[in-house]
């Protein structure tokens, strides 16, 4: 035990490890806050679609040899988020098809582009793997990316707290909200944009294939245990942060464990535990 702690202390001496932990915790917090709304609004498929879009967008940024990929990725993902929201509102089937189209299309194009314009590293499958599963990218963040992540996360958390009651109203009953003067349209737009931001942020942490897990698992776990919106939100946030922290520490100490999948695995464990507790306590 003492050895592990010692080991950990050594790792924590590296600034990039500390950055990774800070960014990881913030991203986990953001994704869990909006995860509750996404799950309840049956929007989780949009989150999934967007994560693939973000992958495609990132490859475009990569082949354009843009040094800091995040702003462009962010912009493209936000545009797609708005598009998907619009499509989803017209009619159900068209919306689903639009999501599938965009997400599969972005994935395919992204991979195609990476093949045609190989990056400097010359390690194609490594690059793709990193983008899809996050491997070590959280440990290789540049200082700019770290600061951008921190600022964006704080903005996301701030927006959530500030609009918390409106987000609840729009999630619970959209037509009542818009009938009584809460502009459901604007809040849906806000949610879509914020989700795009979260996805781009989370891509560094767990990679684009696994983002949905970060969004969905804490919300679903919390819903096994609690029954009011506030308690579910708080529980999801706490669970998500704890799981991310635990996952990061495990991944740091066990060099073979990739960050993203480890965090997701911890989340799955938490979900199973919560389900069990929920069953036993008869909730």
């Amino acid at each position: 035990m003492a050895e592990i702690l010692d080991n950990l202390r050594q790792y924590l001496a590296f600034p990039f490890v500390r950055y990774a932990i800070i960014v990881g915790v913030l991203v986990a917090l953001c994704s869990s806050l909006f995860g509750v709304t996404l799950v309840l609004k049956r929007f989780s498929f949009i989150g999934d679609g967007l994560s693939h879009v973000a992958f495609g967008a990132m490859t475009i940024a990569t082949i354009l040899k843009i040094k800091n990929e995040m702003p462009l990725t962010l912009l493209l993902t936000i545009i797609c988020a708005i598009f998907l929201l619009r499509a989803g509102q017209s009619t159900k089937i068209k919306g689903d098809a639009a999501v599938a189209m965009l997400s599969v299309g972005a994935l395919a194009l992204g991979y195609l582009l990476l093949n045609i314009f190989p990056s400097n590293s010359g390690n194609l499958s490594g690059d793709v793997c990193a983008a899809l599963f996050g491997s070590a990218s959280i440990l290789t963040l540049t200082a700019t990316e770290v600061w951008l992540s921190i600022v964006l996360s704080l903005v996301v958390v701030g927006l959530f707290v500030f609009f918390y009651h409106k987000i609840f109203a729009v999630t619970f009953d959209e037509s009542f909200a818009s009938a009584t003067g809460v502009s459901a349209k604007s809040y849906n737009l806000l949610i879509a944009v914020v989700v795009a931001v979260i996805i781009v942020l989370a891509m560094n942490l767990v990679g684009s294939l696994l983002i949905s897990a970060l969004v969905i698992f804490p919300a679903l776990s919390a819903m096994r245990l609690y029954k009011s919106f506030l308690s579910v939100t708080i529980c999801a946030a706490v669970l998500s942060v704890v799981c991310a922290l635990l996952g990061l520490l495990i991944a740091i100490l066990a060099p073979r464990a990739p960050v993203g999948p480890t965090i997701v695995a911890v989340n799955i464990g938490a979900f199973l535990l919560c389900s069990l507790i929920g069953k036993i306590s008869g909730r």
């Binding site: 309840l40 049956r42 707290v161 500030f162 609009f163 918390y164 009651h165 409106k166 609840f168 109203a169 619970f172 009953d173 037509s175 009542f176 909200a177 818009s178 009938a179 009584t180 003067g181 809460v182 819903m223 609690y226 029954k227 009011s228 919106f229 506030l230 308690s231 579910v232």
Partner: protein
């Protein structure tokens, strides 16, 4: 000027009209009953008045400076997911949001308004309970309390008595009447309860195969009642 006036309104979905050429108006302080058989378009009319469904043709004008956040609304059905975690209190309070602008949190006034409406609907002992675990009638009362929180000048109710027991129904009618008479709230109510309509309504709008709009007395005495009564009862 009327609070709401509709001219030659056609209602429906995706270009398919359900009601055609509907003209009526609602004045400040009115108590309007909307009657008609199932599927005649009553809920559609309510949603159109609220701006949730666009009218196919015709115009709706809002007068007397009516603002959206002065409208209380009880939907006939709310498509709430089976597993939505929300407490009674959270839902009722959300009725206050329209008038709060960008204020992020509920103030003492909103909390008190919500508490009063929870009390009015006899939900005080249930206020921490989870909405989805309540009975149908209890859920209806929660949504009514939320509607009352949102009500300023106008209250639209789509079959408010559905699922309520006789005692609560009578209390509800009494409450709505007192809101209408004492607080000057304009009420528009969809109902299948013809007796209540003949007792409480100021005016009646009957939609369906024939359209009637006029005072309760006119509705009672018009031959209309006889011919409508059948389809209301069958409906």
């Amino acid at each position: 000027m009327s609070l709401i006036s509709c001219e030659n309104l056609s209602l429906g979905y995706e270009g398919h009209a359900i009601v055609k050429d509907l003209s009526f108006h609602v004045d400040m302080g009115d108590y309007l009953y909307i009657l008609g058989e199932n599927g005649s378009g009553k809920s559609t009319l309510i949603k159109t008045l609220l701006g949730l469904t666009p009218p196919l043709k015709g115009s709706i004008r809002y007068g007397d400076g009516l603002k959206k956040n002065e409208i209380g609304y009880l939907p006939q059905q709310t498509l709430i997911q089976r597993d939505f975690p929300a407490s009674v209190e959270e839902i009722v309070r959300s009725g206050c949001l329209g008038r709060m602008g960008f204020k992020p949190f509920y103030g003492a006034a909103q909390k008190e308004l919500a508490a009063r409406n929870i009390e009015r609907m006899g939900l005080t002992s249930l206020k921490k309970r989870c909405y989805r675990e309540l009975s149908g009638g209890q859920q209806q009362r929660v949504l009514l309390a939320r509607a009352l929180c949102a009500t300023g000048k106008l209250l639209l109710l789509d079959e408010p008595a559905a699922g309520l027991d006789p005692k609560v129904t009578a209390e509800l009618y009494g409450l709505i009447r007192s809101l209408n008479e004492k607080d000057g709230v304009t009420v528009i109510m969809v109902s299948h309860d013809l007796n209540a309509a003949l007792e409480y309504a100021g005016r009646v709008l009957h939609i369906g195969s024939r359209i009637f709009f006029g005072s309760r007395e006119a509705y009672r005495s018009s031959g209309a009642l006889g011919s409508f009564e059948g389809d209301v009862k069958n409906g």
